[in-house]
């Protein structure tokens, strides 16, 4: 593995037992370079989400190793993995997963509250992030008052709060129309180009190909294909 900043080594994950057992990943080894946008594609059930869960320290492999910033995470306790996630990793979800009782700015501020203890400047930073993503008029809107594209931008702002170096995105454009989806692709690409973040996107959406540095295709829990495709 050339760069062990983020990656898996011979990772195996299965769910269920006996005849019902599903082998989600079958000895996958892959590294993700710093400052690159990697696209993970593949049909449903190919193991994409399992791979993302491993990289995000939300799941431990049955066998093999997961590296985050050079640290082998399977040796860490649950609380140590939480701390690692808190400092290094953030997520963007298909279903946005904004907290419904909070406004846009409060959702972003919550991301800061989780990742940074300091209270001062939290709201100013949250405001700045939202303004940067073109949401200056939606700061005090609740999730129900936002369009899907706006929700995803708030979710990205929340993910960027605290400046984590790794961004893991699960089907971030699946719920969006063409224009909003393209906007999200651009925003995540900017995170790589301007901030040097490592972005891993799991998606069926072929639009991502033109924004990705590399595409990995999974099938039946194994890597079927890897290609450098940067066109952005």
């Amino acid at each position: 593995m050339p760069d062990q900043f983020l990656g898996l080594e011979n990772a195996r994950v299965s769910f269920g037992k006996g005849d019902a057992q599903v082998r989600a990943l079958r000895g996958v080894s892959i590294g993700f370079e710093r400052g690159a946008l990697s696209l993970v594609m593949g049909p449903s059930g190919s193991g994409k989400t399992t791979l993302l869960s491993l990289l995000g320290c939300l799941l431990s492999p049955d066998e093999g190793t997961v590296f985050v910033d050079g640290i082998a995470t399977e040796k860490l306790s649950e609380s140590e993995r939480t701390v690692l996630r808190c400092k290094k990793i953030s997520f963007v979800f298909q279903a946005f997963r904004l907290l419904h009782s909070l406004t846009a700015i409060d959702n972003v501020a919550l991301g800061l509250e989780i990742r940074e203890n300091k209270r001062s400047g939290r709201m100013a930073t949250a405001r700045e992030l939202l303004i940067r993503l073109g949401l200056e008029h939606k700061l005090d809107h609740g999730p129900n008052d936002l369009s899907p594209g706006e929700k995803q931008r708030v979710a990205i702002a929340r993910a960027l709060a605290g400046d984590p170096p790794i961004l893991l995105a699960d089907e971030p454009t699946a719920s969006l129309d063409a224009e909003a989806g393209r906007n999200i692709c651009r925003i995540l690409r900017e995170q790589v180009d301007q901030n040097g973040r490592t972005v891993v996107v799991v998606s069926h959406d072929p639009r991502w190909r033109e924004f990705a540095d590399r595409t990995i295709t999974l099938r039946d829990g194994q890597i079927e294909q890897e290609e450098q495709v940067k066109g952005a």
């Binding site: 989400t49 993302l52 869960s53 995000g56 939300l58 799941l59 609380s79 939480t82 701390v83 996630r85 808190c86 400092k87 990793i89 953030s90 997520f91 979800f93 298909q94 279903a95 997963r97 907290l99 419904h100 009782s101 909070l102 409060d106 501020a109 919550l110 991301g111 989780i114 990742r115 929340r158 699960d170 089907e171 699946a174």
Partner: protein, 372 residues
Amino acid sequence: MKLAWQNILHDRARFLATLLGVSFAAFLMVFQGSLLVGFLQAASRLVDASDFDIWITARGVEAFEFGAPMESRVREMAAGVPGVVETGRACVAFSVYRKPNGKQQVVAVVGGDSNLGGRFPVPDLTQKADDRSPDSVLYDASDRDAIEVAALPTAVEINGHRANIEHEIRGFGGFLGVPVLFTSYRNAVRYIGFRPEDGMYVLLRVDKGYSVHEVQENLRRRLPEVDVLTREEFAHKSRMYWVIKTGAGSAILTAGVLGFLIGLVVVSQTIYANTMENIEEYATLKALGASQAFVVRIVLMQSLICGAAGSILGLLAVIPAVNYARSLIPWIHTSSWLPAMMIVLSLIMCSLASLASVRSALTVDPGRVFRA
């Protein structure tokens, strides 16, 4: 902790129901607590009001209200025990009181020597004996309607003896359901029909150079046929009799505990429903890196907000209720520490109520965030 507030305020109807539940629990706890505290105080008020160190009672007397006669030699023998510097007498008995309008009423007559202590309601009478007639009788303001005295002084009859109701006092309302009249020991024994030399309660003051307990032991050896108790012991015995043996205190306490349990169930149910409704959000928080402590803080904060707000509402409601109840139950008493204790109890109750919710929030799998 804005999230805790917002989670609660987001469902206002549920929050309102929780507030009502907690405030009802707080109301019950304070009201029943006031009844219990007042009852405990009233049960030993006259014993506590004396400043003598030792009480001698007939064997087996459970409470001040149920005194029984003792031989006169008890007082004489007690006075001779080393360390005893002063003796006093008190008595109580039910009598028939004839109101100024001629109607009859059962009353409790309490008599005491003038030296029993500044807080005992009788000495005040005899210390100013020059200003009053020898038949002078006092009553508590809470019994004013029951004894039907329109003006002071008023001539009445107690057990066929002439008496003068001369003064109204406060803070000595009884809980026996009949008015209590206070007078000198000399008058009381006359009304009751005791011989003046007999005693019902003999009170002893112990010299400061002596140990009260040593004098008590000495008295017990010399007077094995009676009970010799320190003031605190007799007060405690009286309280335990009324509160425990009659079952009255248990009934009051049970209602208070029920209030606590009702609050516990209401808050528990609400916070649990709220947590389960937002369980996906807790998974999101955990996926974003929220620590266990952070998650616990949010759930606990929601419970504590409900507890604090409900307690304040309950307190606001119970103050006028207790004030009104005082006109019917003169001995009800809300001690200053009771509201503070109730708030602490409510917060404990809400913390306990959040345990199941905390457990659910902590055990939710953050990996579920990828399920659409």
